[in-house]
């Protein structure tokens, strides 16, 4: 580890160190397993086990846990139906996996001592770029060169097009950035804030009860943000898919 990588244990940023557990290399590619990777697999395992175990009884009248799985499923199914329509059914497993992965990473990150996978731009940009590449690929394969008409809004005077088209192209290529930064920034800010107030609790002694109360409230807010940001990321994915499939603004 280089010197500039040292970060003090008491720093609110220390929680974002990915926590390398080994130093695996594969043909020059760094594939070191880390706390981050462990939490990614944790999210995969929790999501899968939850869905499988709660539906093991296959009750006609669902219990509480089975209802959660059914709501979870129908939430994404309805989201796709409303934003994309029946053409979006094909992408249901992808969108569902994306939402499940993000929501599970966000929520696991809320546990004490846990690591938040989605607080890293490396993770969110990978997810956002995957969506970007997928939607662009779908747009081109479905519409061919006609896909370029997406950058030319209808009803705009010809002169204005010289201004509008570059803006449209730029905004299209900015999508993965806004898409990924939104999630990363929300997660980083929330967890940093909790850590900062956590330090206040210790420093302020008896009066630490005040920041403590604030932390309790903020934790509730952060749980809501964890779900909300997963929802936002997913619905944006649906909207981008819809743009690619239907070429509509």
């Amino acid at each position: 580890m280089s010197a500039d990588r040292h970060i003090d244990h008491s720093s609110p940023m220390h929680q974002f160190v990915i926590g390398r557990l080994n130093d695996w290399q594969l043909g020059g590619l760094d594939i070191s397993f880390s706390k981050a990777a462990a939490f990614m697999f944790g999210a995969v395992i929790v999501a899968t086990l939850f869905l499988v175990l709660t539906t093991s009884k296959r009750s006609m009248v669902p219990g509480r846990w089975q209802s959660v799985s059914e709501l979870w499923y129908e939430f994404i199914a309805d989201m796709i139906k409303e934003t994309i329509g029946s053409d979006g059914r094909k992408y249901f497993p992808f969108v569902f996996s994306l939402f499940s992965f993000i929501v599970m990473c966000n929520l696991l990150g809320m546990l004490p001592y846990a690591y938040t996978v989605t607080s890293h731009i490396a993770v969110t940009i990978t997810l956002a770029l995957s969506v970007f590449i997928l939607t662009t690929f779908i747009g081109i394969t479905r519409h061919g060169t006609h896909f370029l008409s997406f950058f030319v809004p209808k009803g705009v005077p010809l002169v204005m097009l010289f201004l509008v088209v570059p803006i449209e192209v730029l905004s299209y290529f900015m999508r993965p950035i806004s898409h990924s930064v939104r999630l990363f920034a929300n997660m980083t800010a929330g967890h940093t804030m909790l850590k900062v107030f956590g330090a206040f609790v210790v420093q302020m002694g008896v009066f630490g009860v005040l920041p403590f109360a604030l932390i309790v409230a903020l934790t509730g807010l952060e749980v809501a943000i964890a779900v909300l940001q997963a929802y936002v990321f997913t619905i944006l994915t649906c909207l981008y898919l819809n743009d690619a499939i239907h070429l509509e603004h």
């Binding site: 990588r5 970060i7 940023m13 974002f16 160190v17 990915i18 390398r20 590619l29 760094d30 594939i31 070191s32 397993f33 880390s34 981050a36 990777a37 990614m40 697999f41 999210a43 995969v44 999501a47 899968t48 869905l51 499988v52 539906t55 296959r58 009750s59 006609m60 669902p62 089975q66 799985s69 059914e70 979870w72 499923y73 129908e74 249901f92 497993p93 992808f94 569902f96 996996s97 499940s100 992965f101 996978v117 607080s119 890293h120 731009i121 490396a122 993770v123 990978t126 997810l127 995957s130 990363f184 980083t188």
Partner: protein, 166 residues
Amino acid sequence: MPQFWMEDFAPQMVWLVISFIALYLLMARVALPRVANVLETRHGRIADDLDQAAQLKAQAETVISEYEAALVKARTEAQATIAQAGIEAAGVAEKRNAEVANVLATEAAAAADRIATAKNDALAEMRGVAAELAKAAAERLIGAEVPQSDVDAAVDGAMTNSGGGS
């Protein structure tokens, strides 16, 4: 910020791709078909139940209409029976009335005969008694025997004058 340590990007991305593909496969092959199956089974079951309910309702309506038809039929039959019975009863009553009237008429005629006979007998007897009384009275008054024929003529004349006799 550890988020901008570029050397951490590669391992995160590698494990993200691996874990996300794993999640995608688990969702697409295992978890989602299970949940979909549960939901479809329920929707199918609800649809079946609704169908069955509709069938039962149709059956119930058929039974009700059959019952009502039977009721109407029974009522019509009952009215016909009542009317028939009324006609029969009227016939019987008329017949009996006629019989009774006949009997009464016969008896009345017989009674009239008997009355006439009795009256004639009484008149004949009265005539004899009157004749004897007249004869005896005449004998007392005139002291001579009046011939029986004169007495009879006188009594007949008196009876005829008084309006008696038949």
